[in-house]
């Protein structure tokens, strides 16, 4: 069972949260000019790294706010959580660009 630290509420049990996918995917600007390839990349393509992963979580049974987390996808250890508008913590991993 994961123990996840919500940036607003503190540490809570995994069962209070919903997973919300890869973080820091910005919706493209000028979508009317976007190619099909660029749409596919935005909508469907994912990093899916083996190692450090920045991802979104929703504290569904708590404050109901989204936040970001950096989690190792092999050990599942969460190294940091931070608010949506904050910059990710200094990167120590090999898989993030």
């Amino acid at each position: 069972m994961l123990l996840i630290k919500c940036p607003w509420c503190g540490e809570r049990d995994e069962s209070e949260f919903s997973y919300a996918g890869e973080a820091h995917i910005a919706r493209p600007l000028e979508t009317e000019k976007l190619s099909d390839e660029a749409w596919a990349d935005y909508l469907f393509m994912r990093k899916n790294p083996k190692g450090a992963h920045r991802e979104q979580w929703l504290h569904a049974a708590g404050c109901r706010r989204y936040f970001n987390a950096e989690r190792d996808t092999v050990s599942y250890r969460i190294s940091a959580t931070y608010k949506i508008d904050e910059k990710p913590p200094r990167d120590q991993s090999r898989n993030q660009s």
Partner: protein
């Protein structure tokens, strides 16, 4: 290597079964092959087998980072069925079903394929409407199946709880009589032996660390056991396909999740069919050994750890206990997880990639086991000819650009 038969059994009995030859060799990798298959699970071994058998390619190797069938092939709940909604997937899974029906004879290896039927339960009106639609679509595609009522289910499976007062009452189900189970280890071993007999080198403990290419054409791989050249490379690595795609320099619409299963202590025969419920995320059958084989849902977060969450176990066991109250006193023996590669439309990706000569077969998500022979059969065609077979053309990677998705979430769900 001898053919298995009653005569070989008698002959070996005379020497106290001490002289059986190994089912496959463990050769050193050569410097060059005509084709390489990365991934020695069921799908990879089936691909190698059909490449040798159907396309006459003998100088090929299967590279496996661990041991044969040590990944998802040995971690699933062994269910085989072909009752998918859309034409594209129905044709693909039905091809696989037809291969299953002759597989033990074809491989000269007993894969213990048992067509004991598969029930997919419905718990509300909308479930039943979807089931009726799917069964009608199946029958139009020549796939067997019918809709059964709660009373008919109770008649076939007396232990099931069809009380309409519980949280998720069982209202009815679809039933595919030709569905069933097969012994998953035997499937891997049978394809490995069959491929080896046809001359394929199966190289275990050989992890691919880089994919070499020149001007957009694949030329070989780097592995933990040295560099190997090949102009045709098929990648069949399930949960790790994003890792391999990154080596080759392109992105995949894949997210890898842990999916778990558990088995109980062995008990006397109690369930002679397969019962699945997408809605409550529980499915159950009984192995020949007597243990109840129970499959759970995927964990919501991505992960490469081959284990599942405790909340997942709790959720599934609660569903099973509601369906079968008598199992509340059965103790669970083992629990494990596998890494499944899920796609946005719950359908696999089989075909060419942006790199010439490099082919991917992945994205089977939670339900790849049933497709093992069919997947290998179409992928062998794709690797041998450099272009897809009619059966896998719709499953190309570029469907995520063109928008021709095949939405199988209804028939695939998490319950396989």
């Amino acid at each position: 290597m001898s053919r298995y038969s009653i005569f070989s059994l008698v002959r070996n009995a005379l020497s106290y079964h001490e002289n059986w030859s190994a089912a496959w060799r463990s050769p050193e990798p050569k410097a060059q092959y005509d084709a390489l298959i990365i991934g020695g699970g069921g799908h990879g071994l089936a691909t190698a087998y059909y490449l040798a058998k159907e396309h006459g390619m003998k100088n090929i190797a299967v590279l496996e980072k661990g041991w044969i069938g040590g990944g998802n092939t040995g971690r699933n709940t062994t269910i085989v069925r072909s009752n998918y909604l859309w034409d594209e997937s129905a044709h693909l899974y039905e091809k696989s079903m037809k291969l299953w029906e002759g597989l033990s004879q074809d491989l000269n290896y007993n894969v213990m394929f048992s067509q004991r039927g598969v029930y997919n339960l419905g718990h509300n009106l909308q479930d039943m409407r979807d089931i009726q639609r799917r069964v009608n679509a199946n029958r139009l595609n020549g796939i067997d199946g019918h809709v059964v009522s709660a009373q008919e289910i109770k008649q076939a499976i007396p232990e099931i709880n069809i009380d309409q007062g519980c949280r998720y009452p069982i209202i009815g189900a679809s039933f595919q009589p030709r569905g069933g189970v097969a012994r998953h280890d035997a499937v891997a071993w049978g394809f490995a032996r069959g491929a080896d007999r046809a001359g394929v080198d199966i190289i275990q403990n050989c992890e691919v660390t880089a994919i070499r290419q020149e001007n957009g054409v694949v030329t070989g791989v780097e592995t933990t056991r040295g560099a190997i050249k090949a102009n045709k490379i098929g990648v069949v690595v399930a949960g790790h396909c994003s890792v391999l795609a990154e080596m080759a320099g392109f992105r995949m619409p894949i997210e890898s999740h842990p999916l778990q299963a558990l088995v109980s202590e062995p008990i006397k025969p109690v369930i002679n069919t397969v019962i699945m419920s997408n809605a409550v995320h529980g499915y159950i059958s009984q192995s020949d050994k007597g243990d109840l084989v129970i499959g759970a849902g995927i964990d919501s977060y991505t992960g490469y750890g081959q284990r599942g969450s405790y909340s997942g176990i709790e959720h599934t066991v609660a569903a099973i206990c509601e369906m079968f109250p008598m199992f509340k006193r059965v103790r669970m023996n083992r629990q494990w997880g596998g890494i499944v590669d899920t796609t946005p439309d719950a359908c696999p990706i089989i075909g060419n990639t942006p790199v010439k000569g490099l082919y991917f077969n992945c994205g089977w998500g939670t339900g790849g086991f049933k497709a093992t022979p069919g997947s290998g059969w179409v992928f062998a065609h794709n690797v041998a000819n450099g272009e897809p077979h009619e059966l896998n053309r719709a499953f190309a990677l570029d469907r995520f650009v063109t928008g021709f998705l095949i939405d199988e979430h209804g028939a695939a769900g998490v319950a396989h």
